[in-house]
Amino acid sequence: MSGTVVSGLPLLAVLVPTVAALLAALTTGRWPNLRDVWATVAGIAMVAITVILLVETLDGHIHRTVLLELSLGINSPGINIALRADPAGMIFGLLVSVLWVLAGVYAVGYMRGEHERKQTRFFVAFALSIAAAAGVALAENLLTFILFYELLSLFTYPLVTHRETETALVAGRKYLAYTLSGGIMLIGAAAWLHVLGVDTTFRAGGFLEGVNLDSVTQWALFALLAGGVGVKAAVMPLHSWLPSAMVAPTPVSALLHAVAVVKAGVFGMVRVGVFVFGAALLDDMGAWLVLAIMSAATLIIASILALRHDNLKRRLAYSTISHLSYIVLGVALIGPLALTGALLHIVGHGVTKITLFFVAGAIHVRTHKENVSELDGIGRQMPVTMGSFALASLSMVGIPPFILFTSKWYLGWGAVEVGQQAFLIVYLVSGLLAAGYLFPIVIRAFLRSSPDHTRYGEADIRMVAPIALTAVLALVWGIAPDLPLGFFELASTVADAAFPPSVALAGVTP
């Protein structure tokens, strides 16, 4: 049923944003409008490509592009760089391309509204980051994954430091230190695997399954790989770069925290958990429990920390850390339902959190307010913006029928399925805490009256339209996750492939 098709489409998905970056760099100066159009045009082109790939993937035709396949004459699998549109990669790839269109439009409105300097550098780095994220999504093997994972760190650095203030530079250094260390861990693990002669092509069920390794090697590889992706997934104690990186302009925060960087981290966790180790091995080793406990702790602690922060973006950052661990925990629970929930949560959290960040940016552009305590009455002045914020908050808390309800439902069900009710409780408590840190904002915005007499209107249409659209998407995908991009079908395909019925019975059920 499933066959592999050699085609250039996966490469094209990576090239389109790269070309957009080049065009943006070349048309700088005289034609700022033309420069900003490229991102939108390229974004739409990228969506078209990923949708074609989606249709093909759902039909069982896995497209792959081999960029470099060379073997060395020594005991090593050689260098193999290839892209492949498998179902798991498509989930992340689709999310990236769809949200890039919206974030691209929003970014133009924001950058103009804030009169930011060096906009060309910003748009070029933005597009290159998207290209790297697409590469992470479509990477066929570990080396390709590392290639794009490192490039992603590099291309997002100018975005984090965009403001060029002292805080931004410090945040940038911290960002590089964390992400490069993560990359180094991955490179170390990959080099080790190559020496062991393991073919590192990602395979549902884990490419390490059946490879004879002693338990020290297994654990060391697990620590290196999970640690390497755990940096970007902001699993505590590797999270502290993320709140610092909030100094970046808001479209970047939206990109970092909803689309590209952190999602590359949790997606990497899916790759490591399901495609490198696989359910059976994680279960044998007991590594799932380590991952589950760390992510559960992160989930709760980050939610509590989010309550304490008055700065809106910082509060959202801690909320992000918490929600990323939802996904990591979903992977750690090694069950088909939990995995389906985790993959849906990648999509759901992406579209929901980007709405919240977009709103924070819109408020800043209009009012220059950054703190929750200043937002009294803002809802009546910016009704569409804050209405979207309210919708997204409902989604974050997990109220039906929003998408994050669907994903949390599967995650919780997955916890019960594998007999780990304790983690169901973690999920539920964290949902309550999310209500605790998000609803007060909505209540202030709509029910309190504004302390000053300034009348703020809605932000630029280029900002309001993406905000409203992402909020609506969170609702639409909650009611019908397959509409129109087949996220649920992709997620369940991955889960089926990762947990063939025999494995699920033998190794996972209590």
Partner: protein, 514 residues
Amino acid sequence: MDPQPQLPVFIVGAPLLFSVIVPVLGRIWRHSAFLLALATVAVAAVASALSLELVLRKEPFSYHLGGWAPPVGIEYVIDEVSAFVCVVITSVSFLVLVSTRRWAEREAGDRPGVFYGLVLLLLAGLTGIVVTGDLFNLFVFLEIASLAAYALVFIGGRKAMLAGFRYLIIGSIGGALYLLGVGFIYFATGTLNMIEARELLEGTPSTRAAQVGAVFIFAGLGLKMALVPMHLWLPDAYEHAPSSVNSLIAPVMTKVAAYAMLRMFLSVFPAGFLSGTVPIADALLILGLIGIVFGSVAAAGQSDIRRMLAYSSISQLAFIAVGIGLGSPLALAAALLHVANHAAMKATLFLAAASVRLRVGLQRTHNLAGLGPRMPLTMGAFAIGSVAMIGIPPTAGFFSKWYMAQAGVDEGQWVVVAVVLFSSLLTAVYLFKVLEQVYLRPAKPEPSAHGDDERDASADAAPRPELAMRPVVERAREAPFDVWLPLVVLAAATVVLGVINVVIMDHVLLPGVS
């Protein structure tokens, strides 16, 4: 007679011959010096490339100088490794020569012929070291290259005199140690030919003379390649040498000493000889690991960009030493790959620094703020070179680390793996310090001179008409075409080398070392 085996003569002989002709013709017609030197380097580069092609197509060959057969006469050995290193040296030198013409002729004063003569002499020495198959002949070429290098460093002025003098003293000690070692080997084996020496050393139980010889040889070459703790001459020499000279010496000179070290492992001493009673391999490994860390940490503390790059070179050479110390074919191949990678990367960085010096006359990193948008090509090349040095895929630097880490895992040397990988972070520290200044900080109205060196730099920048009274970043313009084009080519080469590394490893280096 088949003309192709004559190629080694063009690689070594052409620069040697023209190092004498160029100064003479340069007196008669000033501009001929540069053109003639460039043509000579081009001939050597083409000859190297043809040799490499020939080796890959057929098999390694040797050339008997003057027709004397090896045990008596001198033999030039062209195998995959030596041909490859020759290609790297000559092509990098070619690009650097083109790029540095503007300030080379200014720095060399009224006699560019002498300058280019010395450059050709240096090149003849370096290629000679690479191709020779004779231990004593290697010493001769080592001294030719070193003498040319001392003279070139002296051109830099008052401070360079002192640094160059120190370089001369230490370099001569290194040469003397090497020669002493060769003497002991001659006592032990009765031959100076590398391959024959190896056969003789292999056949007999190791004698005290051979062991002492090995120690002297490695101490001498260690000094030449600035292996910690024998590195003290290098930072001063690189800092005070003229820009045109350090862009040439830094990428190739110490690398060739490292190559000679590697040659000893490959061709002279039998396997096991250097890890038994005389644990030179282990010493190299340990000193290398210390050097990687020390060089990077010291580089992070420097404010002069050339000095920073000099310490960075110490760290990178230590990386090569680690590869030699590990000694497995993969590690040796990784070390050789790094010879090429580092030559391209360091040439990029030094040339960019030289180009900045040409335009703004400043070398302190904190004074370079805001330069990025004003010299986009120069600083863009610097950024790519930095990324390659840090080792972000798919650039060249990543793959040397990648193979070295694999070699470390293979040998069970976990410390090596950890140091090699985390050296990227240390490298990132000092290079991003520069990039941060250049791209993310606003230009200062005028440079703040902390040390006295900056005043030196601005003093020799001031007389030129294109500069105003004070060197100021705000007025900086992109370097001229003939400066930035070779720079951009080198920066592109760091990426291309990364992409095609497997081909180099598979066809050239791995067959060459096994």
